[in-house]
Every structure is written in C-alpha cells, then in structure tokens.
Symmetry: C3
Subunit: 461 residues, 3 copies
Amino acid sequence: LSNSTNMRLRLPLLCIILEVILIILFGALVEYNDDTHAKLWNANKSHSATRDDYENEFYYRYPSFQDVHVMIFVGFGFLMTFLQRYGFSSVGFNFLIAAFSLQWATLMQGFFHGMHHGKIHVGVTSMINADFCTGSVLISFGAVLGKTSPVQLLVMAIFEVTLFAVNEFILLSMLGANDAGGSMTIHTFGAYFGLMVTRVLYRPNLDKSKHRNSSVYHSDLFAMIGTIYLWMFWPSFNSAITNYGDPQHRTALNTYYSLAACTLATFAFSALVNPEGKLDMVHIQNAALAGGVAVGTAGEMMLTPFGSMIVGFLAGTISVLGYKYLTPVLESKLKIQDTCGIHNLHGMPGVLGAVVGAVTSALASPGVYGDGLQRVFADAETGKWNPQSRGGFQAISLAVTLGMALFGGLVTGFILKLPIYGAPPDTHCFEDGLYWEVPGEEEGHELNEVATPNEMEKLNS
Amino acid sequence: LSNSTNMRLRLPLLCIILEVILIILFGALVEYNDDTHAKLWNANKSHSATRDDYENEFYYRYPSFQDVHVMIFVGFGFLMTFLQRYGFSSVGFNFLIAAFSLQWATLMQGFFHGMHHGKIHVGVTSMINADFCTGSVLISFGAVLGKTSPVQLLVMAIFEVTLFAVNEFILLSMLGANDAGGSMTIHTFGAYFGLMVTRVLYRPNLDKSKHRNSSVYHSDLFAMIGTIYLWMFWPSFNSAITNYGDPQHRTALNTYYSLAACTLATFAFSALVNPEGKLDMVHIQNAALAGGVAVGTAGEMMLTPFGSMIVGFLAGTISVLGYKYLTPVLESKLKIQDTCGIHNLHGMPGVLGAVVGAVTSALASPGVYGDGLQRVFADAETGKWNPQSRGGFQAISLAVTLGMALFGGLVTGFILKLPIYGAPPDTHCFEDGLYWEVPGEEEGHELNEVATPNEMEKLNS
Amino acid sequence: LSNSTNMRLRLPLLCIILEVILIILFGALVEYNDDTHAKLWNANKSHSATRDDYENEFYYRYPSFQDVHVMIFVGFGFLMTFLQRYGFSSVGFNFLIAAFSLQWATLMQGFFHGMHHGKIHVGVTSMINADFCTGSVLISFGAVLGKTSPVQLLVMAIFEVTLFAVNEFILLSMLGANDAGGSMTIHTFGAYFGLMVTRVLYRPNLDKSKHRNSSVYHSDLFAMIGTIYLWMFWPSFNSAITNYGDPQHRTALNTYYSLAACTLATFAFSALVNPEGKLDMVHIQNAALAGGVAVGTAGEMMLTPFGSMIVGFLAGTISVLGYKYLTPVLESKLKIQDTCGIHNLHGMPGVLGAVVGAVTSALASPGVYGDGLQRVFADAETGKWNPQSRGGFQAISLAVTLGMALFGGLVTGFILKLPIYGAPPDTHCFEDGLYWEVPGEEEGHELNEVATPNEMEKLNS
C-alpha cells in the first residue's frame, strides 16, 4: 500500500476522523459569543438604553469577512489553477484544506487567546481570524503544489494551524505586536514554513514531470480570476480586524494605494527583465499582489498614501526580481522547489512588511496620532509609551516568526516524508489524474460533429 | 412550426409580452416603501429625534442582498456550465429566467404578503425575497437542464413563481413557520417541483445525446466558480432576511460551520465510493453545498456550532451517496432524468433541513433563548408559547411544501409538454448550437499560425 | 526602434516615470481626510457626545466601493476577454491602466474639486470617485482593444483622466448637474472619447487580423464572468456616491429593475434580428448591461420602478439594434472601428440616460419628494427651486460632455498616432503574443499521454 497513490481508504478515514474530533471538541468547548447568543445579546441590550441591534458587530465586520472569505476560497484557489493539468487539485484541495483549517483554527486560536471561563467564544471576529490562519496554510500549499497528496496536505494543516496559533499568541499577546494584516503572522510564517517543508520534501528527479509544471493559455486566465480577487479585496483583508473607525478606514486606503503602485512596478520590471520586453503572466499573477503583503503590518498606522505607494513599489520590484533571479537559485543551490514562488509573493514582501511596520511603529508619536494613538498601539497609555521599544518588539516579532516557521516547517516536513500518505511519484507530479476522475477534452471534435450546418438548418426550418 | 427549434418569433414575442405585462402591473401596483421613498423617509425622519439616515434598512440588508445576488447569477449560472457544450445556455438561460423571475416574484410575493392599501411596497427586503424565489426556479432548471428551450423555461418560471408565492404565504403567514434560509420554501419546493416536471417530460431516447451529457476539463473548472461562490455566500443567504442582531449573526455563523463540516464529508465519501479512491468533480461541485441547504431552517435558532457541524456532515454524506446510488435508480426505475442531480443537492438536504428545523423548534425554550425567544419565534409571547406545537407546525409545513411542489410540477410539466415551445429533439439535447450562434474553437491551430518565432522576432527587432 | 513592438524599454520607463511622479505628487499634496486620520477623527469624536466609530463613512460607503472595484477589475477586465487570442491583454492591460488611472484620478479629481487648504483629502469617497473615473478610461479602452500597445493605453489614460476631471468639475460644480451613476460623466464621456480616438487611429487594413477578431467557445464564457459581475453590481455603482438614506436605497432599487427589464429586451431582440432566431453572445454580454447605464442619472430621482423598467427596456433594445445595424455602418461609412461596440453599450445608452435624467429633473416637485427634495437636488432651497431650469442644465451638461469627449478624443488620438509607442502592425492586432510570453496549448495531447489507464492502475494498486 505504501507506494500506492490510491486514496480510497486513507483520505476518507482521515477526513472522517478529523471531522469527528472537531465535532466533539466543538461540542465540548465552543459557545456563541455575546453578539451571536440569543439570550446574552438580548440581555445586554435591555441593560443599556442606547444599545441597538444595529450595533451588533456583525454589521461592522461581516462585509470584511466575506471579502476575506472570497480571497481564501476563490483567490487562493484559482490563483493556483495556472498549472495546465492541476486545476481540479488546485481549487479542490484548496477547498478541502481550507474547510478543515478554519474549523481547526477556531479551536487553536480560541484555546490560545479566546477562552472565557473554559469556553471558546465564536462570532464574526473568530470567523475572520480562522480564515486568516487558513490563509497561512494555503500559502504553504503554494510551495508544495503538485507534489503532495491531499492526505499530506491535511496533515500539514494540522501542524501548521497549531503553530500558527502559538506564534500569533506570542506576537499579539506576549509581545504586544501590531500585525492586523498579517505581514508576519500570516505571510512570513506561511511562506517560510512552506519553504522549509518543500526543502525537506526535495525531489531530485522532479524534472520527470517538467512538461506538466507550466501553464496553458486558458489556465493562465483562470489564475487571473484568483489574482484579481486577491488584489481587489486585499484592502478588506488588511483592515478586517483593526479597531473600528479611523484605523479600519485608513488601513483599507493605504492598502489600495500600495497595491496600485505595486502593479505599475510589476508591469515595469516584468517587461524589463525579459529580453524581448514581453510581459510574463507569472509576474502579473503574483508580484502585483506583493503590495498588499508589504503593508500588512503598517497599514493601520499613519503610513500615509505616500509611504504606502513607496512600499508597494518596492514590494512589486523585489517580487518580480525574485521570480526572475532568485527562484532558480533557490532551486539549484538550496534545493527549494517552490511551485508558486511563494518566497517572492509572501516571503520577501512579508519580511519587508514586518520591517516597514517596525520602522513606522518606532516613528509613531502623539503629535501625529493625537487621541487616536491608543487605538492603534494598545499599550500607548500616558507615560508608558515608548515608540522605539515598540519598534524593537516588532523586530523581535519578525525574528520569532521566522524561527517558528522554519522550525515548524522542518519538523512537519519530516513527518510528511513518511511513505504512508500516497504522495505522487516524480513522474506524476502536477497531474490531476492521480486523485481525480478526469474527463476527456474532446470538445473541438465534438463541436464539428454535433453542429453541422445541415442538421441545424433542418431543425430550424 | 411545431417541430422546429427556431426561436425567432417565439422567444421575442414571449419576452416582449411578458415584459410589457410586468411594466403595466408595476405601474399600477408597485410603490417605493418608507425607506426608499423621498417623501416618506424624510417625513419619518423629521418626526423622530433619533432617526438617522444610517438607520435606513439599506445599510443592514444590502450587503446580504448583493451576496445573494451573486449566488443567483454567478453561483447557479456557472454551477451549470459543467456540461461540455451547454455553457452558453447554462449561464445565459439562467440569466434570462432569473431576470424575469425576480420581477414576477416581486409582484406575486407582494400580492400575497406585501400589500399596503392596495399597493406593493418595494425595497431591499423585497429584492432579497424576489431573488430567493428566483433561486427556487433555478433549482428546478437544474433538473431539466439541456432538455428544454428558453421558452419552456420562461413558461415554467411563470407557474413556479406563482406557486412559490402561494406556498410561502401558507407557510410563513398561515402556519407561522420559520424558514429564513428556505430549506422548505426554496430548496424542497424547487427540487420536487423540478423533479416532477422532468418526470413528466421524460425522454426515453435521451441516450442519443449521451455523448454531450458530460463535462470536459475546462467546463468543470467553470462550474467550480459557481460552486465556490455558492459555498462562500451561503451564510449570507441563510441570514439575509432574519431579524437584525443576534439572529442574523448566529445564522451566518451556523451556516459557516455546517458548510465546513459538509465539505470534509463530501471529500471523504467521494473517495470512498470510487473503486480507485478518486474524487469526483460532480460530488465536490454539488454535495459540498448541501450543508448550507440543511441549516436553512434551523440556522437562525440556537442550533450551536456543534449541531450545525453534525447537520452539515450528514448532509454532505447523504448527498454524495445520493449521486452515487440514488440518481441512477431514479432514472432507470422512476424515469426521473435529473441533469444536475438536484435531488441530492436540494431535495434530500432540504427535507433534512426541514426536519432539523422542526426538531430544533420543538426543543426551544426561554431558558436557552432568554429575551431573544420572540425574535426567533414570532408567536412566542408570554403564555402562548408551545415549542412542541411549533415543531408540529414546522413538520406540517414540510408536508404542505412537498404537496404543493409535486402537484405544481405535475401540472406545469404537462403544460410544458405541448409541442409549441421549440423543445430540442432527443438527438440535440445538451447542445448550445440549437439556440446560440456558437463560434468555432480553432485556437490551438490559430496559435501556432500567428505566433511563429520568426515573425515575432522580426516585429521585436 | 519606431517600427518595433518591443516593450523592453518603453513600457518600464513610462511606468516607472509615471509612478515616481505620482509618488512625489502624493507626498506633496495628499492627506488623510477627517474619517481616516487618527488625530482628526478622534478629535472630532471627543467634541461630539453622540459621534461614534460606527458613524465613520467607511461603514456606509465601503461595501459599495468594493462592488464598484469588482466591476472595474473583474467586470471590465473579463468582459473584454471574449477575443480568442487577446485574453492576457484584455485582463492584464485593464489591470495596468486601471491601477495607474485610479492614482492619477485621485490627484486630478482632488485638484479640481477636493482641495482643502492646498491639500487633497482622501478616503473611501475619493476611492469610489477614482474608480469611477477609471471606468471611463476602460470604456474607451474597449473601442481600441486589440489595436493599441500598453504604452499607448497609458498615454491615453493620462489625457482622458485629466479631461474627465475637468468635465466632471464643469458638470457637478459649475452646472450643478445630477449624475450620481455617471450616465454623462462616465459613460457618454468615455464612449465618445474612445470612439474619436479609434476614428483617428483608423486602420484601413485591419482585416488582415480579422481571423483573430472574434471569440471562441471558452473565451465567450470568460467574458460572461465580466458581464454578470457588471450586471449584478450595477445597483451599487449607481448608488455608490448618492446621499445617504433614501437616495442610495432608491438608486439601487431603480437600477435593479432597469437591468432586469433590459435583459428581457436583449434576449428578445437578439433572437429577433437573427435569421435563424439564434441568440448572439455579443448582445447578451453587452446589451443586457445598457439598462444600468441608462438610469445612471435619473436613478437617484423618483423615477419609480415602472419608469426604470421602461428605460431599461428601451436601452436594451437600442443596444442590440446598434450592434446589429449601426456598428457595421459606423465602421464602413465613418471609419470608426469599435472593437467592443462601446457605442452600443455606453454611447447611446449614456445619452439616453442623460435625456431621461433631464426629463425626470424637469418633472421633480416638492409634492413628490417632500422634505427629500434637497437631498436629491442640492440647489432646491425654498423659493429658488425651478425644475425646468434644472432640466435645462442637465441638457446643457450632456452637450458639454459630448463636446469635451469628442474634442479630447480627437487631440488624444493624434498624440497616440505618433509612431513611437510600439503599436501593433495590422497583421498582428488582437494577438497576445506581441506583448506577452504566451504558453502553448498542448493540453488535449498531454492528457492522453500522461494518464494512460495502465499507468494509473499501476500507481493505484
């Protein structure tokens, strides 16, 4: 069995066991929070003369949640359909591991920073946070895309979600870091975790599947659906869990400008690095998004549109250059086979975002933020506020994240190396046919056969 | 003419007559409601010291409306593009009958439960309700997909919308049923109506079009666009017309968990029922959505995440098993040719949702819901509240819905059997070419022709 | 160099120079507005007992913004993918010029009507306005699609955005016109500007690329993604910047009904004008949207659903007839080569919308609008209100817009005629390969090769 890729028992068993465990833990631990519970919400309301159904957090978070949700399922899912023969797996496994991860993340994040009297309280904010954690797993998925079975992906998600929650707890609760859009917690963590996993799973003979590790015309258009949705909704992503009011509004605005500048940099450098000046879809699909990653920490701060555009421009530039010059070196020298180039889209821009966040924190002052200072920097109470040490803590947070990601990816990689998960052989990577019933593609033929003008004429007479 | 599929006169005449009737009836009967009327809204405002433009229902319903709207036009439309040669019709006829149905539904629903002094009042809530009713017609469309002309579909919509409004009136207004997400009114009704129509329209020689009644690689990816949008926005669908505050928030949350659990069950059973353990796109595209259907009634209740996940898991399971084992039997024994398998996605999960709703109603108590009880169960006033009889009324509602759907589908089916609508012959079902100008698919050829390296080099020199 | 289409230096240089200029101007001129600035927002809050984070304009405009954003990037981008070999350019150049235009528009619109003490204030409303202006550029792009290099498109955007801002300033600030959904400012302006540009760039030998100037089966489905998103979110587009409360709600409602009626007219006339009664994807993709354009001015007024449906029906009708009968004449007699038929989707329906807006303004009265009159017509203060002159100013606004668009398009067209931008030769219009690295399309072949049953069996054993 160990050499077979047959999923008939492995996948159902794992899915059913995981879901049963999830259901039991949810039954034991999870409760509606004050805004979703019929009794608690209405009791709170009647105690307050001014409290209103309109003030339920649902109305201020749910539109952001839905935008994030679209990024997770359509954005990530379709972005990875660029491979010519791996569209079913890209969008399908993305769907599977996201559906699992958001449940598991609810428990893990709740356990580390959402317990109330021994119970995990859920509502729209926990939904957003669970989707965020899921995003991190999907970033790692990009590194191993085409080279892993769905069982491996689920096992990876179990470990990655857990470590994500630990890292997030250290950063947000212990170090008091700012990271609303997840430059560190989501992008840096997901990228370096995934890169380490793919390093451990290195396949020296992957070129046997080389002919399938590329796009075709239509698969690139499907991938653009993913790209565009990620690009459009990134302002919602970065602002989804900031404080209400000016921070949320400002984060969306900063991200919008960062992405716009990033897009121009991407087109510029994509043409520049090509001998014939031709644009490369890989760059457009990925590097144009780096601007969103790179303002994931500083976006809620007073970065200004000017600052956001500089950051976005830099992010797009390093991302294209990474695809062109760094990815081949990572593969040949460091044996890191990074299918989607997550190092260029999430790794380097994530680190850039962390650095920008640290610097912007260190420059924060009551003169610029006024009474709004505490709403961005939670510990900015009178007398205790020290922007330089805040910047320092942000830098420490980046270091912690890198350490956790690399260590976690290393351990998880070795676990995934066990020959029991039905991983594809080198000759059949990037191939849907291993795990899916794949229909034929007889269309062109069909068409001429069924729609002869004569027949049609007869039918229409 | 009766044997011809030519639409030149039939379709324009029907569309123009219907639209003219709609316009006349709208002119005679439809008025802006208090929140959309310039005079009424501003008069109400000035009478109230605290009333504010921000409190217009637009801000609390419109984001949900747009999510529902996406499900109706993108979700249903693209879900049905899985057929290799019926993409134009899937997304195009979906578009046509939805555009008609939402207008007709506004009148019918308004007539039955929205009249104010002889006028139908419209606003964002009526828009959501009209889209809901349209959803029911599109479910039925799934059963007859590929076997009906657009004229037949419009005629079906006329009758189905009307009966939908009657059934909805009986359930919600007469029986006082809860059904915010429409497990009964939308899914059960739409499914059994459509199944009865396709039964009456049974084609013994449909296998003449068998070679077109299947997917190709890219058509399955287009269909996944539909699936993912339905899946993501289902929390908005189920919560779109609940009461404000905790019920709306809770419904979205319950649906989110139900769908996540359903997805794991779908992948598990899809692999399990395949001899080689391969996943089937049909299951992923459809069964993963059954979790949304199955919490359509109980979602607004205190079902808990735990309960939602159990319901979702069951729904995914029965849906996959239905596709694998029941659909072939329905076709061979009961002569029900169900193109999209709506019995598995909407029929059985809809009935499950109705039963779960009845049970959850019967278990409701002031101890659990507190002051929130009346906001879920409208008749739960002091002294008169009896959860068991409420559960009973829910069960009666299911029975009424099944009766109305089967009877309505029977009558409508016979009307659609008249040989005047340009229905496709058995040999040309599932074929866009009958009703659309279809372009060639010369691409592969084209590509090599136009982009020879030599020519390109010359141009770029 | 002048005859070469090589973009290696031209595109990067232009993008980088433009972005650097943008960044410098943003640094010098752009500031957060009161709702996005940490200091100002919180200072305002503490001065008002009742002001609340919930009242930040973000919560009342951002969902509309995101819908508009989807229309700009997915709607316009995918609508233009209908060409068989121009999908990368359609969605890619749409992306590039939109990302540039929204930044440039922020400056130009801010300069003309958003300056505060020498600074341009930005927030969600400026984001919506910038996207609106971008929409106008993308409309013009539709006329020259396939016949222009990305450098030409960026140059066009520079001029068009500037003139858009001037025209918008004249209409809204000087003439006090109503045009919330942009029938005049966006659609009429964008259409006639683009038509004039394409007239000046007339290519007598364009038929050398005729074989590529058409769709294939899948490219039409990609285009339908664009169509459906535009159609669904048009109510958000027209209502995005109206006043809060009843005007926003009413605009969305009117647009919804106009589009529904328009869709039935489109299907009716598409079948009617075809000898075999077959529907034409070009009509469905485009004409069904004309109803949104045609209520772009009057949508916020008391047009009533009845009036909206009549306008939508007319718009769909003239649009289909335009595609069938007018477009060929424009090309053969007036030498206007309009790739996407923007005259039928934006030109004529835009003019219709302007006329409907003028008439509806002229019929406005305090009897119908009550206290809501000033909230639609800003100058409707006691004594000064004169609906007839308001209607007259609306008509003048249309004339100004047409003049500005035609003159601007003429000048811009001649600038774009300079042989320095790498425009495609007549033989290679509508061809991605000129500007993009295009992958092969070996899929069908690949499939049979990699997934032989024998191999699969072995792997699964």
